[in-house]
């Protein structure tokens, strides 16, 4: 099963996890991204490209499901205004064995970061700035392509 969601509401990890358990297979891997409080960030705002975002996430999930023979791949990404400690993104994969679950989970978050149309804006005090892409993220995504 493949499920993607782009939502303004909070990410409910227990419900997300229950769905993965419901796949009834032996291995589940999850990644949860949390808004960091470092360097005085007070709010984080996520903008996205409605329609194209969901399509991009679905394409990634379908690619992972095929490559690792997943029973379930889920991606839930929050948008709008968030605060330190809030959950931004949840990626979950369920497969027969652990290696497929773990690898596909890493693949999804690595590629999501460089391919899905989201943009982050941080506010510190009364100053807001758009987050710049990180070279480390580009390298993390590229390793999945060069490995083919």
């Amino acid at each position: 099963m493949i499920r993607v969601s782009v939502q303004t509401g909070a990410i409910e990890v227990a419900a997300e996890f229950a769905e993965l358990v419901g796949a009834g297979v032996g291995g589940i891997a999850t990644f949860t991204g949390v808004v960091r409080a470092d360097d005085g960030v007070s709010t984080l705002e996520l903008e996205h490209y409605p329609g194209a975002t969901e399509a991009a996430l679905r394409t990634l999930a379908e690619e992972a499901a095929e490559r690792w023979s997943l029973a379930t791949a889920t991606i839930t990404h929050r948008v709008g205004v968030m605060h330190p400690g809030d959950l931004v993104v949840f990626v979950g994969t369920a497969a027969v064995h652990r290696a497929a679950a773990l690898e596909s989970c890493a693949y999804l978050i690595d590629r999501l970061k460089t391919e899905a149309p989201f943009w982050k804006r941080e506010t510190r005090g009364d100053r807001a700035s758009w987050v710049e892409p990180r070279e480390g993220d580009m390298a993390a995504a590229a390793r999945w392509i060069s490995a083919d």
Binding site: G33, L46, E47, H48, Y49, G51, A52, A55, A56, H77, V88, V89, I109, L112, K113, T114, E115, A116, P117, F118, W119, K120, R121, W130, V131, E132, P133, D137
Partner: protein, 85 residues
């Protein structure tokens, strides 16, 4: 033919609107040609599109490089590199 233009992040802020519908001239071969034409529309457009290395694009929601053929799209989005996750 009219095209829906969509702008995101600091591209949207520099231009001042998130979308506009425009009728570009015939003969724009690439997405980059469309960006050149848009850049001449206002100071905000010029500012948004000044550094091409920092721009990404999608034509009818398919992500493409700026030198990709423009074709006859319904929707073109122009935005900075993505920073989700």
């Amino acid at each position: 033919m009219a095209i829906d233009l969509l702008y995101f992040s600091w591209v949207r802020e520099a231009i001042g609107v998130g979308s506009e519908t425009l009728d570009p001239p015939e003969g724009l071969a690439s997405v980059g040609d469309l960006v050149d034409w848009l850049a001449a529309r206002s100071d905000g457009h010029a500012r948004a599109f000044a550094d091409r290395a920092r721009l990404r694009a999608a034509v009818d929601q398919v992500f493409v490089p700026l030198d990709a053929p423009l074709g006859q799209p319904r929707e073109v989005a122009i935005f900075p590199p993505v920073t989700g996750g």
